[in-house]
């Protein structure tokens, strides 16, 4: 007997309207998170990790509450604001001194899977090198089989090069809406980055305790991560493809 969870569009809209992410664990793979930021007060932190390069190999170490660029703190701020009851973990995978980004990102994804997160948010995009494709594919498939939901930021540009993980069909890929529309929208062109949301944040949290006015796909993706967390909070057994189909149905 098929016991998979399903929900109506009205149920989904209500969950997105009223959910707070309770019971959900979200991993943010980015530049790290400054958990001491005043804007993250009340946030329940799960893990604070960093993937670094040691003698040419990736190694998982303590993140120490460091955000190397500011990006991750801004994303965490958006997610926490929209789903304040969700638990957030940080896995820093962006390192300015790393020659190759792909193997750090891959280790970050493996770590997130191993720690059993419900949602993994990826703020980055790695250009799709042929040598990495199978590794990414295996990782994305393992997420799918574990029912771990993956949200990735991506570009809506029709002519951009392929990027991982955003261009895998089982990933919820999100770009910045060109007119800054709030809510969830479908991309008007045929693109593997299927969703759009507002990518502007007037007071994005930034390291040092301050804020900045920023625009970008990762901040649109953060909003959709929060929407997904609201959905899963009220319907925990939702399959990744079902969740993505529901998001497509509720999108404008």
């Amino acid at each position: 007997m098929n016991t998979e969870t399903w929900l109506t569009i009205d149920d989904a809209k209500e969950a997105i309207r009223s959910g707070d992410g309770r019971g959900l664990r979200i991993a943010i793979l980015d530049s790290g998170i400054e958990f001491s930021h005043p804007g993250l007060k009340g946030l329940e932190v799960d893990n604070d990790l960093a993937v670094v390069e040691e003698e040419g190999h990736p190694k998982v170490v303590d993140g120490k509450g460091d955000d190397l660029f500011g990006h991750g703190t801004a994303v965490a701020g958006i997610v926490h604001r929209l789903v304040p009851a969700a638990v957030i973990g940080s896995i820093r995978v962006l390192d300015p001194n790393s020659v190759s980004r792909a193997h750090l990102i891959q280790e970050g994804l493996r770590t997130a899977a191993r720690l059993g997160y419900n949602i993994v948010h990826c703020s980055f995009n790695a250009p799709a090198r042929q040598s990495d494709t199978l590794i990414y594919q295996n990782l994305i498939e393992s997420f799918y089989l574990r029912h771990t939901h993956l949200v990735a930021a991506g570009s809506h540009s029709l002519y951009c090069t392929r990027e991982w993980p955003a261009h895998f069909p089982t990933v919820v890929s999100v770009g910045a809406h060109p007119e800054n529309e709030e809510g969830l929208h479908l991309t008007p062109v045929k693109s593997l980055v299927e969703f759009a949301s507002c990518g502007s944040e007037v007071e994005a949290l930034w390291p040092g305790g301050g804020t900045r006015q920023i625009v970008g796909a990762p901040f649109a993706a953060a909003r959709v991560t929060a929407m997904l967390a609201k959905l899963l909070g009220s319907h925990p057994g939702l399959h990744p493809l079902t969740a993505k189909a529901v998001l497509r149905q509720v999108a404008e």
Partner: protein, 159 residues
């Protein structure tokens, strides 16, 4: 890179900057531990092209190089921690910046920037960028990617 490719890139950069009403834009490439602006348009270009080096662990340009994600920041002067190395050198203040990555052969090899600036201490209202401006430069980056690929190809047209 062939000179014709560089000229075409500069022309595309100029047109995209004009389309979003910006005066200054540049294409930066990674050079060891720095990003170096090598192709540019606007009043500042001659003063910093191939003369300035941004460390890879500082600034928005380095963030975009590391993340592979486009980024835009407005009201820059209202926030500390902005890497103002170049502003100081040019005697200007940057009000808003767009940065998009350039990919080639599976690597993020550089970035394209576009800025709104004023003279240091200027009192006019600061300008800003929006998502549509970011999208314009993402399209530009896609064109630049293909140009670089074509420019470094060994194929030559039949005579």
């Amino acid at each position: 890179m062939p000179e014709q490719t560089v000229m075409l890139m500069r022309e595309l950069l100029q047109r995209s900057a004009e389309r979003i009403q910006s005066g200054n834009a540049a294409i930066w490439f990674r050079k060891e531990k720095h990003l170096v602006p090598q192709i540019g348009v606007g009043s500042h270009a001659d003063h910093f092209l191939n003369r300035f080096e941004q460390p890879l662990n500082q600034g928005i340009v380095s963030l975009v190089l590391a993340s592979g994600q486009s980024f835009c920041q407005n009201q820059i002067k209202d926030h500390d921690q902005h890497s103002d190395l170049l502003d100081i050198q040019l005697g200007i203040q940057t009000d808003a910046m767009i940065v998009v990555p350039i990919h080639l052969s599976g690597k993020t090899m550089g970035v394209i920037t576009c800025v709104h600036t004023r003279l240091h201490g200027g009192t006019e209202e600061p300008q800003s960028f929006g998502p549509a401006d970011l999208a314009e430069f993402e399209f530009l980056a896609a064109c630049i990617n293909h140009l670089i690929l074509a420019g470094t190809s060994n194929d030559t047209p039949d005579q």
